[in-house]
Symmetry: C2
Subunit: 191 residues, 2 copies
């Protein structure tokens, strides 16, 4: 922000930084997108990522019926990011990645999402986390019950990888299916 | 758009119109929001509206970690707007309103959404439309199967209200629950 006569405001103001979203890599999300697309196209399951909630304040028409949004803000999601139907069952999960090698930080997951996970478990929905350790190139499925048990017992800011290795399930990388988590769901929930 | 020297461009250009979203009324959506909130708070069902998909092209930081979106575009949804879990079952519906008094226009519902409805029905998920005739102040639940049967048999651009009155279920207005569609779901699907 420029002030007349070069007067500097007292408090430090950060220069607005433009963020270009065109080339942003989202590796776990991209892989899950490919996996879910495979499941949909092959009529195995219909599971989708929920769009990020955005509150629109201002938009313009640039052509008749063609709108561009000019002012909007990200909102916090009230639920997990992924849900859908598989073999007639409700399925729901959150996917997170971390660069850490020894633990999974819990600040990744918002209180609303934890509450939502509890709600789904109370309804006996199929519910879990997909956790990727990017530096180790390992992706685990951790049942929601095992996740909730940890956070309710331990008052810690992260889950040690040993807990996830012990109670979680390593998801194999595959070419077409990428992160074939439904193979593991079949075994755990005996579908 | 202003041109130098008052030169008018050949093709007509529509002036960009600012749309302020702050006071936009969305009556069926608002009612469903209240209903769904009631269901969630009373641990009856966990059903949410999916956020509108928006593709973000440009955003700025205006404060540290506080972003405003400056350029974004609405995308077409790939699924219906509402889904969740009820009594352990996957539930999925689309909600539309019309000012028409004698028919429900089908251009309201996109091909992707129709395909999604077919997919959910093939999985035996609980699936339906909520249709509100705003001028008549009547809201109906129409089973997905009845909807699909109509559009597959009749090559028409709208569903006559007589079909909806005959095969659909009128949803009573209630004070707290607003549009208590689950009461009807219980009866239809014998839950």
């Amino acid at each position: 922000m420029n002030y007349p006569n070069g007067i500097k405001k007292e408090n430090k103001i950060l220069e607005p930084k433009s963020i270009n979203y065109k080339n942003r890599g989202m590796s776990l999300e991209e892989d899950l997108n490919i996996t879910n697309r495979y499941y949909i196209d092959n009529h195995i399951a219909y599971i989708y990522k929920k769009p990020t909630p955005i509150k629109v304040v201002k938009a313009e028409y640039i052509k008749e019926k063609y709108r561009v949004i000019r002012e909007a803000y990200y909102s916090e999601p009230s639920t997990t990011d992924y849900n859908g139907i598989y073999k007639g069952y409700y399925i729901d999960y959150e996917a997170k990645e971390t660069k850490n090698k020894t633990n999974f930080p819990l600040n990744n997951i918002h209180p609303h999402q934890i509450k939502h996970i509890r709600n789904i478990v109370s309804e006996n929905g199929i519910c879990f986390l997909i956790i990727r350790f990017t530096s180790l190139n390992k992706t685990y499925l951790l049942k929601a019950k095992d996740f909730l048990e940890f956070i309710d017992k331990e008052k810690r800011s992260s889950i040690p990888i040993s807990y996830i290795e012990k109670l979680g399930y390593l998801i194999k990388d595959k070419f077409l299916k990428r992160i074939d988590y439904l193979e593991i769901v079949d075994n755990i929930w005996r579908l």
